[in-house]
């Protein structure tokens, strides 16, 4: 339901074509936060132009071809799994109720305002007047209410939504009031994720996942799965003057190398990638502009998720040994192409939610060996762990390196590759010991509640894959969810981070490196302004918005 959730299961599930597509790349790369994705600080190489931002006059017309890293299974927010590519498509055809701004706040977008009552248990969403869908039908409270109800009843989003929304009702022609199960301070942020897209009544009724009708800057022309998706300009877009392009063609290209070659050979104009090698090669190349993850908010983390409910990973000593045996610095050096930096916390450096010292067990091979010797007798004499990943060549190499490191500490490790659908199923049903993972990118930490809370760790199907049940963690998560005071919130999430370090359900490696890179023919692709004039956060965790860009040549 929250952005990272659907992104996770979708991307993990759909590393298309088993080609080792880097749809779930544990690239071991992290974005140095201070670099701010090259989008807001002047480059130290002397380049005066900020990448992705143009101060020139917009040129109208033309089309852009963009390469994405995966394909989606449909355009219906209540049923389709949207990873970063899905959300990019969604941003093209639909609009979300709110959008995250450059300062990290969630500002109203399709909604005119999203206001809470005094105790944050009820939020009133007021829509903009005069907005029409691509089929001419009006955007009003009836449509919005129908959207919310569809989300509540859908198999995909219903379960997660139940933990947030209890009911919704129409207040006026353009306003809907949503009641939450408890005070949820970060509610507006949810409206910037998959559940925040509003679709037309006609599509809701037809439940069509192939014929989307939205309010967005472009409307669908044709979609051939695994080949292309073409859209054309919406001439009646509610944001006057936008978009500039006549059309966009998206091409899902699952292989990282093929996508990079497509950009280099000008088969495509723009691409999303998380391959650190490609990012490094194009970072300062002439004729290209590159934007990486912003420094605001949380980026996706690359880590190993441990199952705390099965042997031997249910033993905290074992988990600490596993953590201390990984030389994260070396790992990042091997696989990060110099782009990545180790990050041993849920939050990136500079985040208000990151404590000064979160107590995460850092690399210490001697200590790891001691812990193994200590814990082994309780597990039949030897500690053996099965480490698996999906069929992605970079990940497969990484787990071999990690297995070797664990081996040095005395842990017998077997590595294997699992196909995506089975991979997700195993995570959800708890049939795993150690799996690679990429998750937790979010504009607000509360969006990750459902993935970490002990309340979702029970039963045969658990969204809390690691099944980590820590009451103190739940208290901290709840505090962060319900407190509106920023300082208290920051405090609460710092506690969350510390608890995670104590519980060690996740063995952190680094921040994922996402980037969108384009040739010089496409400009201003990361400079979206919001209706109130402020700047949007822009590209983050692989999600792109095509509204502000235009063609130079």
């Amino acid at each position: 339901m929250d952005g990272s959730a659907d992104r996770y299961d979708r991307r993990a599930f759909l590393a298309r074509g088993a080609s080792g597509a880097a749809a779930l790349g544990l690239a071991g790369v992290g974005v140095p936060a201070l670099l701010a994705g090259c989008s807001s600080t002047p480059s130290s190489t002397g380049r005066t132009q900020t990448h992705g931002v143009s101060t020139g006059t917009p040129k109208r017309g033309g089309t852009v071809t963009m390469g994405l890293n995966s394909e989606i299974d449909g355009f219906l927010p209540t049923a389709s799994h949207w990873d970063n590519s899905g959300l990019t498509y969604a941003n093209t055809i639909f609009d979300t109720l709110t959008v995250v701004a450059a300062d990290g706040s969630a500002k109203p977008y399709l909604a005119q305002s999203v206001t809470p009552n005094t105790d944050m248990t009820q939020w009133t969403i007021t829509l903009r007047p005069g907005v029409k869908f691509h089929d001419g039908s009006p955007l009003n409270a009836d449509v919005l209410l129908a959207n919310i109800q569809a989300l509540q009843t859908s198999a995909l989003t219903g379960q997660a939504l139940r933990g947030v929304v209890s009911s919704a009702s129409k207040v006026s022609d353009l306003a809907v009031a949503v009641s939450c199960v408890e005070p949820i301070v970060a509610f507006p942020y949810y409206l910037s994720t998959q559940v925040g897209y509003v679709i037309a009544m006609a599509q809701l009724e037809s439940q069509s996942s192939t014929q989307p009708i939205g309010t967005g800057p472009f409307s669908l022309v044709s979609w051939v799965p695994n080949d292309h998706m073409t859209v054309q300009r919406n001439p009646h877009y509610w944001r006057a003057g936008l978009p500039y392009l006549d059309g966009v063609t998206y091409k899902p290209i699952s292989q990282d190398q093929s996508r990079e070659n497509s950009l280099r050979s000008r088969t495509i104009d723009l691409m999303v990638t998380r391959d650190p090698g490609a990012i490094r090669d194009l970072a300062n190349a002439a004729g290209y502009q590159q934007v990486r993850n912003p420094s605001v908010g949380q980026g996706d983390m690359d880590f190993i998720v441990l199952n705390t409910s099965v042997e031997p990973t249910n033993d905290p000593l074992v988990r600490e040994a596993l953590a201390r045996a990984i030389d994260v610095g070396e790992l990042v050096r091997l696989f990060g192409a110099g782009i990545a930096k180790p990050n041993l916390s849920l939050f990136p450096p500079g985040s208000p939610y990151r404590p000064a010292d979160n107590g995460y067990p850092t690399y210490d091979l001697t200590k790891a060996k001691q812990l193994v010797a200590q814990a082994a007798p309780n597990h039949g004499g030897t500690i053996s762990v099965a480490l698996a990943t999906i069929t992605d060549p970079r990940l497969v190499n990484e787990i071999q390196a990690i297995a070797s490191m664990w081996g040095l500490a005395g842990i017998q490790t077997t590595v294997s590759q699992v196909e995506q659908v089975t991979f997700i199923d195993n995570l959800v049903t708890g049939k795993f010991q150690a799996y690679t993972s990429e998750q937790f990118g979010a504009a607000d930490p509360d969006l990750n509640y459902v993935w970490m809370s002990p309340t979702t760790a029970n039963g045969p199907i658990a969204l809390n894959f690691s099944r980590n049940k820590d009451d103190a963690l739940e208290t901290a998560l709840q505090a962060g969810r319900t407190t509106s005071d920023p300082t208290a919130r920051a405090q609460a999430y710092q506690e969350v981070d510390k608890h995670l370090s104590r519980d060690m359900p996740y063995l952190w490696a680094s921040l994922a490196t996402w980037s969108v890179t384009g040739s010089d023919s496409v400009v201003n692709f990361n400079n979206m302004t919001l209706p109130d004039g402020s700047r949007a956060l822009g590209f983050a965790n692989g999600v792109f918005n095509p509204t502000p860009m235009w063609r130079e040549a």
Binding site: G17, G74, P225, N226, S262, T422
Partner: protein, 314 residues
Amino acid sequence: MLRFAANRLFQLVVICFLISIFAFLLVHLLPGDPTLAILGPNDTPAARAVLLHQLGLNKGLLSQYGTWITNIFHGNLGASFLTKQTVTNALGVAVPIDLELIVVSQVLALIFAIPMALVAALRPNKAFDKVATTSTFGMLSLPTFVAGPLLVLVFAVTFKWVPATGFNRLSQGLGPNLKSVILPSVALAIGSITVYYRLLRADLIATLQEDYVTMARSKGLSTRYILLRHVMRPSSFSLLAGAGISIGTLFTGAFVVEVLFQLPGIGYQLVQAIYSRDYLVVQGMALVAAVAFVVVNFAVDFLLTVLDPRVRRA
């Protein structure tokens, strides 16, 4: 003749029927089902049951098979559980790609292999033969997933003569269409050249030692005449058999090339569908690919009897 054709047609139907059963069984044997892909982490038993019922997957295997086959006879191959795209549509995208890849790559391979084999067979074990043999073995040692990226690096990235990925349909113009298939076809042809060259050369050398060839030579007939009229036909047997298999298996065997060049052909779509347990797509694609293989090789068998009338029409 007619009896032969009828016999063959009957065999074709039986074989395709058997293949349809295998395709159905095998994909249903895989653990998991489409609900995993469709529901993801929300795969609760309740949601699963509802979905299985909706998709008609809660009925017995025999019933499901019967429904599928009946639908096929009505021209309905079903649709993807995920994208809702009909299998017919998916095939409409995939088959032109595969057909073109096969035609272009095999034509390229034959254009190189036949002349090379002819020259080599005329002067066996001399310089040309040795060089040709060595280089074709070099090509055989070069898998498509090595040749592909190399070709792209040179012709797409460096020279920008052709696109690096994607298929341009014929409706977009012959030029763009050919440009988009040339690199993957070359990658596929590389493996086939060796096969054709070796098979043809071996047969040619054997045939050239036949008495009737010596006889023709002694009658004063030119080499070219002898080659084309007397030698090529009987020497093409292994070549033809090899071509039949090559072409037949390329429908699914071009998978690696399809992934590298992002061409959603049958192989690519088949593997995707297997991973998401998209049963109907898997069954449909497997059946079509198998039928194509059988038809091509039946044609080959027929051609064998045409080439050499001494071969009985089995």
